[in-house]
C-alpha cells in the first residue's frame, strides 16, 4: 500500500490515483524528419529503471488533477511530489540504494529468494 501526497489534496491512499507512466516525455519537435525507428522510440519505448523513476499520477477519485512524482521502484518509496509546471528535480537529489542494477534493496523488496 502506498500513500501519495497529492499536491492539491494532501495525503491519500494510492487506490484513489491512477498512474500515467513515465513523466517528462516530450513530443518530437520535428515530426516530419523522424525515421520509423525514432517514432517507435517515442511511441513505445519508456524508461523502466529499478530505482529512481520520474512518473505521472492523476488524482482520479479526488481533484482529478495531474502531477509528477519521483519514486524508488525497488522499494515503492515516494521521494518527491511536484506539480506539472514545476522543474524536473535533478537525479542527484535522490540516493539510489541499490548496489547493482538488478540488486535488491535491504528493506522493502519482497524478494526473499535473494540472499542480501
Amino acid at each position: 500500500m502506498i500513500l501519495i501526497k497529492c499536491p492539491y489534496c494532501g495525503e491519500r491512499d494510492q487506490s484513489e490515483f491512477a498512474n500515467g507512466g513515465e513523466a517528462h516525455i516530450i513530443r518530437p519537435k520535428n515530426p516530419e524528419s523522424l525515421s520509423d525507428k525514432d517514432w517507435g522510440e517515442y511511441v513505445f519505448y519508456r524508461n523502466n529503471p529499478k530505482g529512481i523513476f520520474y512518473e505521472r499520477w492523476v488524482h482520479t477519485h479526488g481533484c482529478k488533477k495531474w502531477f509528477n512524482a519521483v519514486r524508488n521502484t525497488s522499494t515503492d518509496q515516494i521521494l518527491k511530489v511536484y506539480k506539472v509546471n514545476e522543474k524536473r528535480p535533478d537525479l542527484s537529489e535522490f540516493q539510489n540504494t541499490l548496489k547493482s542494477p538488478s540488486g535488491e534493496p535491504s528493506v522493502g523488496s519482497g524478494n526473499f529468494a535473494v540472499k542480501k
Binding site: 500500500m1 502506498i2 491512499d13 494510492q14 487506490s15 491512477a18 498512474n19 507512466g21 520509423d36 525507428k37 517514432w39 517507435g40 522510440e41 511511441v43 513505445f44 519505448y45 519508456r46 523502466n48 529503471p49 529499478k50 523513476f53 512518473e55 519514486r71 521502484t73 525497488s74 522499494t75 515503492d76 547493482s100 542494477p101 538488478s102 540488486g103 522493502g108 523488496s109 519482497g110 524478494n111 529468494a113 535473494v114 540472499k115
Partner: protein, 421 residues
Amino acid sequence: MVLLIVKKKYSIGSILKNSLSNNENWGKMWRSPNPKKHYDVIIVGGGGHGLGTAYYLAKHHGIKNIAVIEKGWLGSGNTGRNTTIIRSNYLWDESAYLYDHAVKLWENLSEDLNYNMMFSQRGVLNLAHNEHDIKEIKRRVSANRLNGLDTMWLDKNEVKDLVPIMNTDNLRYPVLGAAYQPRGGVARHDAVAWGYAMRADELGVDIIQNCEVKGIKTDNYKVEGVETTKGFIKSKKIGVVASGHTSVLAATAGVRLPLQSRPLQALVSEPIKPVINTVVMSNAVHAYVSQSDKGELVIGAGTDGYNSFTQRGGYDVIEETVRAIVELYPIFGKMKMLRQWGGIVDICPDASPIISKCDVEGLYFNCGWGTGGFKATPGSANVFAHTIAKDEPHKINAPFALSRFSDGRLIDEHGAAAVAH
C-alpha cells in the same frame, strides 16, 4: 532388468530402493558447480524459460558448454509465482502458433523429461458477461478454429453444467456464455523448473544459483561476457530471460527494450474438497480461479497499476480480485486466504513477447511475456534455443522480433489476455 529400472533417477525401482533407507539417500537433482571462466552460451535467469532454453540447446543443438545463472534459487521468480494456467486460445495467427507449440510440448513434457509435470488438461473457460464479450469471444473462437485449435463456444447452461457452483444469473454482469478450450489446463510450476534443471544438468549444463548478473559487457556492439557476484564470465552468446529485470540488464549493455515492469499478484486459499474441476477466467468481472490438487483455490487477476520491482503489490488489487471471485462464486464467501504474493512481470506495448536478437551481436532476449508467460514455457524455450544456436529466429518466433516496434507489425493481444491489463 531390475538394474536398468533402478538406473533411471525416478522409477518404481528407485522408489523401492530408497524406501529401504528411509528416503534419506536421494541424490541431489543437479550439481552446484563453481562457474567456469568461459562458456559457449550463458543464459541469464534460472526460471522455466531459461532452464528450458539450456535443455533444448544441449539436447537439440549439441551445445554442451552452457551456464544458467540465477540471482536467487531456481524458479524463485515468476516460474514459482504464477497461477499455472496453460492454454493457447489466442486471437492472432502468430500467437496461436507460438502458444500451441507450447501446449503440444506440454503434452509430452513429463515423458520427455521423465519427471511428473502434473500437467492436467482440465479445460479453460473464458466467460462472456455482455454483448461485446460475446462478439469478441465468438470472433476469437472462430479465429482459433481456423488455426486448428480446439476452442468452442458454450452457452450459459453448458457453462453451468461444467461449473455448477458458478453464480450465472444473480450478479450485475450475468454469465452469458464462454469460450472453452478442453486442451488447456494447469501444471505444477516447480516441476517445470526442476525437471528442466535436472535434465539440462545431466547434459552438462552448469546451473549456478545465488549468483547475480550485475552487468553485460559489450565491446563495439559484440557481447564479451557477464559481470557477476562470482566474477567475470566470458561468453560470445548471452540469452537474457530475466522477466521483470530484463530491461534493467539490457540497459547495462546499452540496449533499450519497450518493457514496463509491474507486480502481478496471486493468492491461494485454505484447501477444501474438490469443487471446481476446470480453470475459469473472466475479463469483465476480472478474476481467474482454479483448484490445485491439494485443494487450494488458486486466484489471480490484473497487475498493479504502476511500475514496481517489489514482489508484493497493493491490497486494493487483492480486494478487487476477491470481490470478483465472491460475486461469481458466492460459495467461497467465507473462505480464508492462506498466501499472497507478487511477481514482477515485464509488459510489452502489444501484450506479446519479444523473442529476438538485437543490435548487439550475440545478445538475445526472451522477454515481455507479461502476465502470461508460464503457459508458453516449453515452446518459448524451444524456439529461443533455436534462435541462439542458429543466430536466427525459428519461423514460429520470427514475428516476435524487437523490430516490430519500429516497423509497426504489432501482435496486439490485449483482448486475448486472461484478464485486462
